[in-house]
Subunit: 252 residues, 6 copies
Amino acid sequence: MHIRVINPNTTTDMTSAIGEAARLIAAPGTHVTTTQPAHGPVSIESHFDEAISAVGVLEEVLTGEREQVDAYVIACFGDPGLQAARELTRAPVIGIAEAAFHMASLISTRFSIVTTLGRTGIIAEHLLDQYGFRHHCRRVRAAEIPVLDLEENADAALDRVITECQRAKEEDNIGAIVLGCGGMAKLTGQIRDAVGLPVVEGVTAAVKLAEALAGLGLQTSKHGDLAFPRPKSFVGRYEHLSYLDLQSKDRG
Amino acid sequence: MHIRVINPNTTTDMTSAIGEAARLIAAPGTHVTTTQPAHGPVSIESHFDEAISAVGVLEEVLTGEREQVDAYVIACFGDPGLQAARELTRAPVIGIAEAAFHMASLISTRFSIVTTLGRTGIIAEHLLDQYGFRHHCRRVRAAEIPVLDLEENADAALDRVITECQRAKEEDNIGAIVLGCGGMAKLTGQIRDAVGLPVVEGVTAAVKLAEALAGLGLQTSKHGDLAFPRPKSFVGRYEHLSYLDLQSKDRG
Amino acid sequence: MHIRVINPNTTTDMTSAIGEAARLIAAPGTHVTTTQPAHGPVSIESHFDEAISAVGVLEEVLTGEREQVDAYVIACFGDPGLQAARELTRAPVIGIAEAAFHMASLISTRFSIVTTLGRTGIIAEHLLDQYGFRHHCRRVRAAEIPVLDLEENADAALDRVITECQRAKEEDNIGAIVLGCGGMAKLTGQIRDAVGLPVVEGVTAAVKLAEALAGLGLQTSKHGDLAFPRPKSFVGRYEHLSYLDLQSKDRG
Amino acid sequence: MHIRVINPNTTTDMTSAIGEAARLIAAPGTHVTTTQPAHGPVSIESHFDEAISAVGVLEEVLTGEREQVDAYVIACFGDPGLQAARELTRAPVIGIAEAAFHMASLISTRFSIVTTLGRTGIIAEHLLDQYGFRHHCRRVRAAEIPVLDLEENADAALDRVITECQRAKEEDNIGAIVLGCGGMAKLTGQIRDAVGLPVVEGVTAAVKLAEALAGLGLQTSKHGDLAFPRPKSFVGRYEHLSYLDLQSKDRG
Amino acid sequence: MHIRVINPNTTTDMTSAIGEAARLIAAPGTHVTTTQPAHGPVSIESHFDEAISAVGVLEEVLTGEREQVDAYVIACFGDPGLQAARELTRAPVIGIAEAAFHMASLISTRFSIVTTLGRTGIIAEHLLDQYGFRHHCRRVRAAEIPVLDLEENADAALDRVITECQRAKEEDNIGAIVLGCGGMAKLTGQIRDAVGLPVVEGVTAAVKLAEALAGLGLQTSKHGDLAFPRPKSFVGRYEHLSYLDLQSKDRG
Amino acid sequence: MHIRVINPNTTTDMTSAIGEAARLIAAPGTHVTTTQPAHGPVSIESHFDEAISAVGVLEEVLTGEREQVDAYVIACFGDPGLQAARELTRAPVIGIAEAAFHMASLISTRFSIVTTLGRTGIIAEHLLDQYGFRHHCRRVRAAEIPVLDLEENADAALDRVITECQRAKEEDNIGAIVLGCGGMAKLTGQIRDAVGLPVVEGVTAAVKLAEALAGLGLQTSKHGDLAFPRPKSFVGRYEHLSYLDLQSKDRG
């Protein structure tokens, strides 16, 4: 199967790192390709960044559809554009926040999230509510490092993430930690070793969930609220999205 | 005060109709201007449409900031881009879904929503959850009419909306109805007369809430998760969003 | 329009202070009158005080109805008698706790409440649950000052409230503070200046919400559970409430 | 032990009927006395009636305190004045709605409520939320009979209640029915026989819970939010409530 | 009436202590017998222990049915086998966790639980959720003592429980404490005296609730999901459970 | 990897059918073995059956541990013994109800469950609450067929399941259906074809989730409440469970 991992930000180093993490975890028969929007922010650290990045994610899904991609991973912890992406395809689409929450709840009864900047905690809280994991998460913690520090200041960033994970282990009465940023994918092993607790990372979790759904022959439902969008006119720079013929080209 | 009503879709007739409803309800000292994105869908009937439209909404807020607008209304019932827009400004930003929910809960204990297409019901459900009104809403109903029928097929559309509102009145054990589409703003009076129940419409509700916040001297909090986004590079067609200098130009 | 602000306790100094805050915030066309029950407690600091005060509130609403008042504000943070008052009139009735919660949730994602005595925190908790704001409120805090100290010991009381607000700002991961007592209305400006965070006060918030509803032509629903009470006999000191002819005199 | 059953309305026939039901169920060592407010409505069918009746309930508790009553039952399904009454005494105070909910949840996993008038359903909904039984109750149903019809039109009323209970049994996927009015206490046996399902009635349930708490030596907590109210001045017709010396006379 | 108190673990000293607590609290006409499984763990400190003990509990209920027992108490704070036990009999079955939660919520608005080992806290959390008391419980605390220390190291254990209860009183903003282990039944008085707060213990609470239900003539519903299990074959060591003829021997 | 699928009931035909479904879905490198308890009920249709079956499940996990099994699937929709099983091993343990809920929520926003007997619906409701999927499930439906009819009356049973699934599709406003019984595993394809909606079946879902966790190197947390049980004495027929030396033999 062909999984397209979409890094919603436009930093190629992060796309590479995410792609490497994804490839390392992928099953033998899984072909992982990566991409990033042609248009958008270099990192996602706010609702604003997230809203802009969602468009790029959706365009990458449309591209993927022309290439008959089998499943998509949205590799930013806010799951930008997730439900919209699901409307565009029968292929499964998995966000890394939801993937991590699901997996963490299968190996522990309660977890904490360790994310980058505290201001994005509210995004995680909203997702926990929407997905149903509010009571499984004891606390949303932040290491207070900008996302790109995970690339540019890797050692210092890693230290701060590990420190916050250790605090979570000691104070939060939890069984597992969820890493709250796609940029942490490559650090998972080091964090896991340092903290001594199951550490769930979303990119890898999402790849395995995508494989699992594919194995089950389960595709995104086209019955009801995730049906293909009604074709219509888009104007201006989104004119290319006009009258998308998704229904008739549907492989499902 | 100057309220900018942003119609998130690109249909000028709807912008006009929304603007008219807003102006009719505005207080004497309130100056209402309207706008719509230069780029985006002609109507919003899916998560996909909504995600694209959010970018346009945010660009309109940035434009408004340069014009020292005092408050913004996002006039689509999914409240696209709401939290992101709040990050961009100290001015209050009100979504019409939240506005309608708030107002309906002040004059009734339970309400139902009557929206256009059933597939958008899930968007309303997610907002009810996030905002806290899940238990105040008895039922999300759909008249099953495309949004633009409210413009192009106005009479038939009105009939169907009224019929669904009457069903809600008879079956749902409610005190009020919330209209679930900005395009219904101009029909509020007719629906209210036909149904004999308080009918809450979001565009008008949002204008009055914006005036209320302005009167209170309350602005969007810049402490914590709605602080101005960190300036950063955007690439491609969003390059103009790079290094937005919102903090230093802050009037707050 | 004519807004009647009802101070549910019988302390005239507090009625004056609340009235002054209300008048300062009212729109040009709004006529604010104040009143307080002829019968009841001098301050409201318990369920017991609240239950007694509710009767006085309801009698003031009945008086207001004879004077064709356009909207009512119940100026005690427990919103005593709120739903009952709504049954007596088509005019909007706004409690200051609900008003503050609604407004705070429009300018921040999470807030804390700072109230007078800790023992009244449970009342706020019950209201947060009933209204739907449980998850928007991070914490209910108390300055542990008796209500009347806000009048009689104003400086010391203000200090303690500000201190508690500052703690909330530092510890609670919030964007705004809700003041948990009508007696704090006159202190809002000073607290806001000292704390450097949006501070939402209920009396002023309620006045603006009442104006907003009036502007929208929205009245308390008489369909369903807020309909006028069935006329009936009352005995003893409440005999004057017997066979209230609210339905037939209804202006709606 | 001495249980005081307070009928919150002023209809002596209902007080008698409730008292009879209470006495029939009381344990040998339990002395049941009944009372009703000197002041208040003849029946409770709205928030308004309930707010007025709460004062009468509280005055009856104060009277009971002088008589060293051991426990109180508030015999109206809205539990008027419940938390306030608890503040006035160390004796347990039980509302009949809460009593019925607790007992029903011990013999079934899900129940429905059958009450008198539909408009009071919202009161039951608010109590279910506050007490924690929202998910145990499948549906709040109304026979649509005025409360006093249970006295004056007993046969017709009984028929309608039974019919609604049978509907609940057939349609609601429940294990038990909760009767939603103190006036139904005397009908419990007939309803139970006719419906063939456990039928939980609140007056009797509350008497047994009061006995149970007494047997356990458990009294209303005076630590925290149910502590005795702070003594203070009351004016007008409530002057007799001024400076209540509950703390110092405390038997606890 | 005849109440059978089932100690789900196999430690006879604990069965005796629990039985003594039950007998001391029972009403004059109540006959308390105790039992413990012939097969199972000596203490219950994990999901695993609890699952094994549930079978023993069920076998004891079946034995009780042959002896026409009137009500059952399951005397372990995880309420092992509770819903299953209810299927086997019309007699009321009360778990000590639920009993304590119900009683605590009648005398306080918020409580904390003090249990033995922290690892069992998740069991209490799941029960709070299922029963509806999540918001009534401020915190689940553990004294971190093994269950059998309550027998074998009674003094040291008592000290640690009291210390944790005192912390709860000081820090948790509560009105009552729930003891989280059947083995604490005999210590209730000492804890209550030391802590100065209502202390609710489940064995005694369950006995009184069982008496209360019996007094009300309320039995476990056999309509719907608690009906007698369908008779069927069991193999191996559970062969004696095959084709249980509960329905036809039903005394109800 | 080696996945042990445990059929919690003792019907070998069902074990075979479940095993076949599991093997068909397993990845090339996955070795699936099946087992069933030596002791227990032939089908699970009540809390009682479930409680008995849980012991058998746990014994099978202990057997599996001696054989170094890599993951376990508990193939009954009530997930009997799930948390207890997790305590016994570092290997992932997946219940088929949770597996189905997780997968259904990844391809749809709302689903309904179609189970065998209505009386087991409450078990599903409790699991939905505990796992966090309450709001994702619109309705729990029953075909009202005994579990073993899926083996013995396969055609008629299939018809009834399909009919109920079609009703769910038409009436419930859903995107997917969850099959509520392990015995339906072999029918998934036929149901899917007949209903035209994604149909999620738990046995297969659990196998893929187990593979996914294994691929991620994620094991059941031994930190906190899922740690190995404390070794202790068991008496009677469970004596073989005494002093299990899980910690010291731990491969983790």
